[in-house]
């Protein structure tokens, strides 16, 4: 049986943390597994999605990024057959699925699974009951349901908590149950609507790693809506940037990061936080915390005058807390080790908290 822990680590470490490598096992000339053709949708006369077209390669994870209100969730809901487009069509593996009715629409929905931001689990059921529902609805015999549910819960690492009511799970566990429920019908496509937006950075990482590993194991094609650039960076192969209801830019994640063309794409890339400390070659990344008087002093310019050390600011924030200012800078020092050491102790003497290792920087988007 598959255990969640090890293959997940293998899957994530095999990928570059910055530029995910597109799944090499999939021939790129294949017909798209999911295609959206010129979708339009308006609510109350107000256009929400306009002329959105997208094609998703089989086995790839395709991100849709944009700010809130850009129309990305509506686009995903049309693709997932939760919303009917005003015009345009979604195709699964070349078959049009928009505008179907009755049994055909139910069957099309079973070809896709959906994971939501707020998990949307059934509170009246246990974890196993949640995962079982799509199968029960498809008329699968009871014994087969039990077996498949146990397998899926094992796949997401919750085999030991099958009979627990879902209200007692943590956010990350809830999303794992939701992922198992979405995949229990063996769908070809997984839709993730801000699936990690309600989770803390660490849980976000583990859920993304789970989705990556499931993609590899089950040959899924994934469409992932998010407003977090970190999610795109960590999980996606391709990405579409949406603004004001339109897809303004599409391409590989690599091309978006290295040469963003549109203003919104540039803004998204610029808003991205610096790399984690361990990803930088010299380990001299420091977090400096200023508070009270030290926050209003020109400390850094004095530092570079008095010590043979260059300071490179990676990122900075300043807060006003109850009338006094407090700030935080993430910097790298360049210079001799003794000089850097002297500079750091001088900073400490100025009332600044100096932390040498910066961890968990990437997920505060």
């Amino acid at each position: 049986m598959f255990h969640a822990g090890r293959p997940l680590e293998a899957a994530s470490s095999a990928r570059s943390p910055f530029y995910p490598v597109p799944n090499a096992s999939v021939p790129s000339h294949d017909e798209p597994r999911l295609e959206l053709r010129s979708l339009f949708k308006s609510f109350g006369g107000k256009p929400v999605v306009e002329d959105a077209s997208l094609s998703v390669r089989p086995g790839s994870i395709h991100g849709i990024i944009g700010r809130s209100g850009a129309g990305k969730s509506t686009l995903l809901r049309m693709a997932a057959l939760l919303e009917t487009p005003d015009s345009g069509v979604a195709l699964y593996g070349g078959t049009p699925v928009s505008g179907l009715a009755g049994r055909d629409r139910l069957l099309a929905r079973r070809r896709a699974g959906v994971v939501f931001q707020s998990f949307n689990l059934f509170a009246s059921r246990t974890a196993a009951g949640n995962v079982a529902f799509p199968l029960e609805s498809a008329g699968v015999p009871k014994a087969a349901v039990r077996e498949r549910v146990a397998m899926l819960l094992d796949l997401v690492g919750l085999a030991d908590k099958a009979d627990r009511p879902v209200g007692r799970f943590s956010g990350g566990e809830k999303q794992r149950v939701a992922i198992a429920r979405a995949l229990v019908n063996r769908p070809e496509i997984l839709f993730c609507d801000e699936a990690t937006s309600a989770l803390d950075p660490e849980t976000t990482r583990s859920v993304l790693d789970l989705i990556l590993s499931l993609r590899d194991r089950l040959g899924l094609t994934v469409l992932m809506v998010t407003h977090q650039m970190e999610v795109v960076r960590r999980a996606c192969d391709d990405v579409a940037v949406m603004e004001a209801g339109r897809i303004v830019e599409t391409g590989t994640v690599e091309s978006l990061f290295s040469s963003p063309r549109t203003r919104s794409a540039k803004r998204l890339v610029a808003g991205l936080l610096p790399l984690e400390a361990e990803e930088l070659e010299d380990g001299a990344v420091c977090r400096l915390r200023f508070s009270g008087a030290s926050a209003s002093q020109p400390v850094l310019s004095r530092l570079s005058r008095e010590f043979p050390v260059e300071v490179n600011i990676l990122r900075g924030t300043i807060h006003k807390v109850g009338g006094s200012r407090s700030g935080e800078l993430v910097v790298t020092f360049q210079g001799d080790d003794p000089a850097i050491k002297a500079a750091k102790s001088w900073l400490t003497a100025q009332g600044i908290v100096v932390e040498s290792t910066v961890v968990g920087e990437t997920d505060h988007a």
């Binding site: 057959l81 139910l106 529902f133 609805s137 009511p165 209200g167």
Partner: protein
């Protein structure tokens, strides 16, 4: 004292039977209508705006009818269904018909309170509307449905006392006949106290059931 107890037993049982039977009938009549109202509402799983408006008006009209008038109007129906328009069994007909639209509204509002996302999740799984309604929506709404049920029972206890006053039997009948016509303040007080106990009991049982359901989630 013994005489008082003797007087109370039969009407109390009549009231309990009247309320139980009419609650059951009201739920059977009203709950499907409530579910239907929810499903055909704008944004629901099977939108039918025109039909919805018609049903809405009909339910409001029925609910705004004074119960005492409704009861008199339904005498002929009681006679057809039960064979008489007098007595405890006959009173069940107007009681159920008066409570059914109330139940429909309670069911509709309990379902409307459900998180839209939970409905999305059920829809996305490719289940039929009937299965979504029965296997997900109603169980998810169970706490609100149960507290709505205790509200229905309490309302029906009140209505049944009114029904008693015009020939329906039960505690209302007792209170009016002895307390009002014969100036037996003790009987009237005792009848009112028993009604109070029944109402409190229904409320407490409902609350306990809701707590129990929630504690299992």
């Amino acid at each position: 004292m013994l005489e008082l107890l003797d007087l109370l037993i039969r009407p109390t049982l009549e009231t309990v039977a009247m309320v139980a039977a009419s609650t059951l009938a009201a739920v059977l009549l009203g709950a499907p209508v409530g579910l239907f109202l929810y499903l055909i509402a704008p944004g629901g799983l099977s939108e039918r705006p025109a039909l919805r408006r018609v049903l809405d008006r009909a339910i409001n009209a029925l609910r705004s009818f004074p119960f005492i008038i409704l009861m008199i109007m339904l005498f002929p129906l009681s006679r057809i269904l039960i064979g008489t328009s007098i007595g405890t069994a006959a009173a069940i007909v107007p009681l159920a018909i008066a409570a059914a639209p109330f139940v429909a509204r309670l069911v509709e509002s309990a379902l409307s309170e459900l998180d839209r996302g939970v409905v999305d999740a059920a829809v996305a799984s490719g289940a039929t509307k009937a299965r979504i309604a029965l296997a997900i929506l109603l169980p998810e709404a169970l706490p609100s449905l149960v507290s709505g049920l205790s509200l229905t029972v309490i309302n029906l206890i009140g209505y049944s006392a009114m029904a008693g006053a015009i020939g329906g039997g039960g505690l209302g009948d007792l209170a009016v006949r002895f307390g009002y016509h014969r100036f037996r303040l003790d009987v009237m007080t005792a009848a009112v106290l028993v009604i109070l106990v029944l109402v409190e009991g229904a409320q407490a049982a409902g609350n306990a059931a809701v707590r129990r359901i929630k504690s299992m989630r």
